[in-house]
């Protein structure tokens, strides 16, 4: 009973950790509303917070009520500002007052810049049409607030939460050992090309994760520790690594997807694996599994989906303004009726170039935290969490007893033995592999 209670406690704690990770996904919705909807609604529509009479008292300018409403994040009808841009046709002559400004006052010119209505000519060449001519846009404040606030806070706690859950799991369950005795005989689990692809993806992911965290946490965590002078070269090197190592990451992602996708199609026996949580919480439980068990399939699909999402948003950031993603994506989501179903209005399908970049960066960060949290769990179970697991990706060879316990159906396919988990072997056998190859062929 005590063991069952402990398992229930573990499951509750694991669920809590999952919620932390899911919170990261949930932020996406809020972010979308904040970045895409926020500035647009503030400028274009919304509830008026000050009556025209109240504004008359300020000469048509903002009232304290307007300013406080904006600070509370309430959308205000600010057409009284956005449309007060002067009239060049009624401009004063050059020699008269305001003549040198083309008939406009300073506030009118600044408002035109502020609302992106000014006819601007710039000498810089933007990577896409119209980008350089945007002198001022206020989506950046929502992006900055999100990046320094929820992304950093919830993302950081998601990682800490995952580490805490794993530490607790290790303290309670300890290392998952082979139930039977080592046979001393091994079987090839992953071919050299599979291991190469895995480590190409894994090595580049670790570099990307660390350099990404350095960029995000630098201001709040590293500069106070090392100072700006020491952080600057670290940030520059980290940026170069992040931008450049993205390419081997994408190459590794393509390789593992192509090589392993057929092995990761969900199957009926995965339900049995899930029903007993893979036997992770109880000794001697070995549910059926082929080359990849249900847990590994979940990791695989998480890597594919999150990897694709982070790669696409990363490409959008690597080639600024050339690969806008979100307006088109929002259009598709609107067509599916999802926002309407959840009670939100339609997502904006016309986004300023800079808002596209802000969304890409924020989404990149959200996906990254979910990805890192999942991979921390993967690294744990593939190293200290399970005896013999690292061998599969290290030497490629695993002990026969390990293969029987953790991938019984796969072992049976490879060797022609009966499927399913088998009882522990009686004792160590002769040293050396079984000769079975991972592609299922038998030695001549």
């Amino acid at each position: 009973m005590a063991g069952r209670g402990m398992i229930r406690t573990m499951i509750r704690r694991a669920t809590a950790a999952c919620w932390i990770v899911m919170l990261g996904f949930g932020l996406a919705g809020g972010l979308t509303a904040g970045l895409a909807g926020g500035p647009a609604s503030a400028q274009e529509a919304g509830s008026a917070t000050a009556s025209p009479d109240a504004r008359a008292a300020t000469g048509g300018a903002q009232t304290l009520e307007d300013i406080l409403a904006r600070q509370r994040g309430v959308a205000i009808d600010d057409r009284f500002r956005s449309e007060a841009l002067g009239d060049r046709d009624r401009a004063a002559a050059a020699a008269e007052d305001l003549g040198t400004l083309g008939g406009l006052s300073d506030p009118e010119i600044w408002r035109a810049l502020r609302y992106d209505r000014a006819d601007v000519t710039v000498s810089a060449r933007g990577p896409a049409e119209g980008v350089s001519a945007v002198i001022m846009q206020d989506g950046g404040m929502a992006w900055l607030a999100f990046r320094q606030g929820p992304l950093l806070r919830y993302g950081g706690w998601a990682l800490v939460g995952m580490l805490a859950v794993l530490a607790l799991f290790y303290l309670i369950r300890g290392r998952i050992r082979i139930d039977g005795a080592h046979t001393g005989r091994t079987i090839l689990r992953f071919r050299a090309i599979e291991r190469f692809a895995h480590w190409l993806l894994a090595g580049s992911f670790i570099v990307l994760a660390l350099t990404g965290l350095v960029q995000l946490f630098g201001r709040v965590a590293l500069i106070p520790l090392f100072g700006q002078a020491a952080f600057a070269p670290l940030a520059i090197a980290g940026k170069w690594l992040h931008n450049s190592v993205a390419w081997p990451f994408m190459a590794g992602l393509v390789m593992v997807t192509v090589m392993w996708i057929a092995h990761n199609i969900p199957a009926r026996h995965d339900l049995k694996w899930i029903a007993v949580a893979g036997g992770l919480f109880k000794k001697g439980v070995h549910p059926p599994a082929k080359k990849f068990n249900a847990g590994q399939k979940l990791i695989f699909w998480a890597v594919v989906v999150l990897g694709l999402s982070i790669a696409v948003s990363g490409l959008s950031l690597l080639f600024p303004f050339r690969l806008p993603l979100f307006a088109a994506t929002f259009g598709v989501i609107n067509d599916l009726g999802l926002p309407q179903l959840l009670g939100f209005g339609e997502l904006p399908v016309v986004l300023a170039p800079h808002v596209e970049m802000q969304l890409a960066q924020a989404w990149h960060g959200i996906v990254a935290f979910a990805f890192i949290a999942i991979i921390i769990a993967h690294v744990y179970i593939g190293s200290i969490g399970m005896e013999g697991a690292f061998d599969a990706m290290g030497s490629g060879e695993v002990d026969v007893q390990w293969a029987k316990e953790h991938h019984g159906l796969w072992y049976a396919e490879m060797t022609g033995a009966e499927g399913g988990a088998e009882p522990p072997a009686e004792g160590p056998g002769p040293k050396g592999g079984t000769g079975a190859k991972a592609d299922g062929t038998q030695p001549a």
Binding site: R125, G126, S132, F196, A197, H198, S204, P248, G394, S395
Partner: protein, 41 residues
């Protein structure tokens, strides 16, 4: 362990090659953003 070490080596080589290739292909920040009045070389 050889595939692992080779993969790490490949990561470094691909990263350097990607940076070099993108720079040569005209994707450096200065080439993308500088106006015609700016002399880059």
């Amino acid at each position: 362990m050889k595939p692992m070490l080779l993969a790490f080596l490949a990561t470094a080589v691909l990263a350097v090659l990607a940076d070099f290739a993108l720079d040569r292909a005209g994707f450096s920040v200065q080439e993308v953003t500088a106006g015609p009045a700016v002399r880059l070389d």
